[in-house]
């Protein structure tokens, strides 16, 4: 690629890089505080409102978290639910989105309207609970996946990406004797990796963050994903429920350092997903596949 080396372009770059660095710092600092807070003592965290580098280092919080295998087991559940959930959601979403992206399909905008409608109107927690119960999904991990398998927003975005693929791809493929399934699997999917990576990421994050459905549908605490425990610790440590239960005298809330450590532990795995998907966002990722 030819680089633009003009003065204007250089000034543009300098300003651009500087701004991005500032933005990155501003977004990152509170997280640094959380990380640093997890590696220090309760005393230091109480004293300072903002810790960047701990003066006293301590692993107590992590020792506390990992002294039983509850967190590790729940992370296992989360990883499993996230992986299979994303896979399941992507298959359903991609199929439906592709079908609906074809302009020659009768009833297409009617079905889209049916989808959009569900974004605005929802029956609420209890009727959904009844459906899940009647399907026999209570206490099954599938209850965390199936009832939320397709997110209408993701479906609409996915369809939009499919619609924006260069026109004529399908026509030429059809002339080559490809069926609709063949077009989807051999042409559309490979050409849509940025979109697939994006939507997969959205699904993965949603599944990773699941907690309310887990509390509602899973009676067996052994199946709880890590977010349920994270949330429990954050709420207890923030003192949001202590008074009304009258239990605070007997059960001391978790320390602030433990809260920070759990946030770190529960956030890192999902952050690690991103770099794997990142290469699909590289500029021109699509072009290579078209020309090739």
């Amino acid at each position: 690629m030819v680089q633009d080396k003009s003065l204007g372009s250089r000034i543009f770059d300098i300003v651009n890089y500087t701004l991005l660095i500032i933005i990155a710092l501003v977004t990152f600092l509170p997280f640094i505080h959380v990380i640093a807070g997890s590696f220090t003592t309760v005393g230091e965290l109480a004293q300072k409102q903002f810790v960047i580098i701990p003066t006293v280092w301590s692993l107590d919080a992590y020792e506390y978290i990992f002294s039983t295998n509850t967190i590790i087991k729940s992370m296992g559940v989360s990883v499993g639910v996230t992986f299979f959930g994303t896979l399941f959601s992507m298959v359903l979403t991609a199929l439906m989105a592709y079908g609906l992206s074809r302009r020659d399909l009768d009833g297409r905008s009617g079905i889209m309207f049916i989808v959009v409608f569900t974004m605005l109107f929802s029956g609420g927690m209890i009727p959904t609970f009844l459906v899940v119960k009647e399907l026999g999904l209570i206490d099954s991990l599938a209850a965390l996946i199936v009832p939320t398998a397709i997110n209408a927003f993701n479906l609409i975005i996915m369809r939009n990406f499919f619609q924006n693929l260069p026109d004529g791809l399908e026509e030429s493929a059809k002339i080559d004797g490809c069926s609709d399934w063949g077009i989807l699997l051999r042409i559309v999917i490979p050409l849509s990796m940025p979109a697939i990576a994006t939507i997969s990421l959205f699904y993965a994050v949603t599944y990773w963050n699941t907690y309310m459905t887990a509390i509602l549908y899973l009676n067996d605490a052994a199946k709880w994903p890590v977010q349920v425990i994270l949330r429990q610790i954050v709420i207890l440590a923030s003192g949001l429920t202590a008074d009304t239960s009258g239990m605070d005298d007997f059960v001391r809330p978790p320390e602030q350092t433990v809260k920070m450590a759990v946030i770190v532990v529960a956030t890192l795995p999902i952050l690690l997903v991103y770099p794997f998907l990142q290469k699909h966002f590289a500029k021109g990722a699509l072009l290579g596949s078209i020309k090739g």
Binding site: T68, I126, L216
Partner: protein, 518 residues
């Protein structure tokens, strides 16, 4: 092929429609039937059966700890009571959602814990409509359960009938925690009147109690909580009634009493002088405590029991800090008094949708009766001797490995029924921290000065439906007054608004309920 698909689709759809319709239906009608008929039937059909088989009992309980407990203690309870327990732990922060969802879908377990009084009030209507077993007449058959106090049971009752077992809580833990070292340095003794209390806050702010030469301290640290924060306790010092009080033979809400206004003015004085944290209406409990721990503030009004946690932590920050507790402060026109809770924390209800017969109910009550024995109560409260605690002079010394007790014992405290007052042989702790030991003494001493809520067992339909929203009007006006945003006339306008939007009805209904109860 397309036709076949469409056929299956239709079949699936109708199946769902039927299924959901059925559930909605049965949720209502069969339950009612079970309520009136089945209990008498089964009671005659099946007299005491084989005792050998462990009784299965499902329980929904509140989880107050980060993780669900290890099952060792559960196993011991099961063995001792010949039961098979299935405990659904529900995280504290989502308890009411889960309970409501289970209730509406007919999936409540046999023993359902209700978090607190507020949640119990929400269930009143359902209780009245025969959704739960009445247990009052049965309690006398059980040697331990019959010790539950009549007055407290009355506070849990609906229309005079008893449906719930309760977990005991100390009636009033209210008082204040302060920096003894600061007070000593400034020559202040523990305040006994509200004016002395004010002086302490003033001196802690202006007289450089930490001696660092900087003007960086203030008196009181408070949080955004009208009840468990400082306000309600200070209001008691001024002689304000607890939620409701008698005025000219009529029940009136606390905020229409002159003492409440005096309290507001007192807070306004403290706040405007800068003797307390300026942000107290938005301060969280964590931040409130951290102001004390870091030596910014010297007085903490609230539960005296909190001193245990605060004392250990403050020494990490400042080894020279000394915390002390105090309870008795009297107002300008009143003797010391302190508001009390209705005597219970969580309660257990027995839904008719899952407890099918009176016999089943009796089995469950018998389990709770055994659970209320001193042996088992001590086990769910303190754990196993030698492992979770040791004994000294007949008192418990809990293990210092708090991580272990957090995991193995403390969650089971949620199951507790009764408490020190109702269980003879409930072990007490030997407090190593002098401040904590003193706090416990003062909590007991508070029992001599209690101000009870005369409306605790009374009912008002308007309050149940609209009380929380109306209460916000008063809360907003109170905060605005304390911060100086509105004056007494503005506050009075808010009270009028409260009366007009339904408050008057609440007053009338409570008074009617009060007359009916007498």
């Amino acid at each position: 092929m397309a036709k076949k698909k469409a056929g299956t689709l239709l079949a699936v759809l109708t199946a769902f429609a039927v299924l959901t319709a059925c559930t909605g239906n049965s949720g209502g009608s069969t339950n009612n039937a079970a309520g009136s008929n089945t209990n008498t039937q089964t009671a005659t059909e099946t007299p005491a059966e084989t005792k050998k088989e462990p009784v299965k009992i499902s329980i929904m309980a509140n989880l107050h700890t980060p993780e669900v407990p290890d099952q060792a203690i559960e196993k011991l309870i099961e063995e001792a009571t010949n039961t098979e327990l299935e405990i659904q732990w529900v995280p504290d922060g989502s308890y009411d959602e889960k309970m409501n969802a289970s209730f509406a879908t007919g999936t409540l377990p046999q023993a359902t814990y209700i978090k607190n009084q507020t949640s119990l009030v929400m269930m009143r209507d359902a209780i009245r409509n025969d959704q739960f077993w009445e247990i009052g007449p049965l309690l006398d058959q059980y040697p331990n359960l019959k010790n539950l106090q009549k007055e407290v049971l009355a506070n849990t009752s609906v229309d005079g009938k008893i449906y719930a077992l309760y977990a005991e809580r100390p009636l009033s833990r209210q008082g204040f925690i302060y920096r003894k070292d600061w007070a000593d340095k400034l020559g202040l003794s523990a305040p006994t009147t509200t004016e002395e209390f004010f002086t302490m806050l003033e001196k802690f702010t202006t007289d450089d109690p930490d001696g660092n030469g900087k003007n960086d301290t203030f008196g009181m640290t408070d949080r955004s909580d009208f009840v468990y924060g400082a306000f309600k306790t200070v209001a008691s010092w001024f002689g304000t009634p607890n939620n409701w009080g008698m005025q000219d033979g009529k029940l009136m809400p606390e905020f229409m009493f002159p003492q409440y206004m005096e309290t507001l003015e007192f807070f306004k004085r403290i706040h405007s002088a800068g003797y307390m944290n300026q942000d107290f209406p938005v301060t969280s409990k964590t931040d409130q405590q951290s102001l004390l721990l870091t030596g910014k503030a010297g007085v903490y009004v609230g539960s005296m029991g909190d001193v245990a946690g605060l004392d250990t932590k403050i020494l990490e920050v400042n080894p020279d800090a000394v915390l002390d507790v105090h309870h008795k402060v009297s107002g300008p026109n009143s003797e010391y008094g302190i508001w009390a809770i209705p005597g219970f924390g969580s309660v257990v209800l027995f839904p008719k949708s899952s407890v099918k017969s009176e016999e089943e109910l009796k089995n469950i009550l018998s389990f709770y009766d055994q659970l209320m024995s001193p042996e088992l109560t001590n086990m769910i409260y303190w754990g196993v001797e030698g492992k979770h605690y040791t004994m000294e002079e007949g008192k418990v010394i809990p293990s210092t490995d708090t991580a272990m007790t957090d995991r193995e014992v403390k969650p089971y405290m949620s199951l507790q029924i009764g408490g020190p007052v109702t269980i003879d042989g409930f072990l007490e702790a030997k407090h190593i921290l002098p401040s904590k030991a003193k706090a416990e003494e003062l909590i007991v001493d508070n029992n001599n000065y209690l101000i009870h809520d005369p409306a605790a067992a009374l009912d008002s339909l308007t309050y149940n439906q609209d009380g929380a929203r109306l209460q916000e009007i008063i809360k907003d006006a109170s905060y605005k007054f304390m911060l100086g945003d509105i004056d007494a006339a503005g506050y009075q306008a808010a009270v009028d608004q409260w009366l007009e939007q339904g408050g008057q009805k609440i007053i009338d209904e409570y008074n009617a309920s009060h007359t009916a109860a007498q």
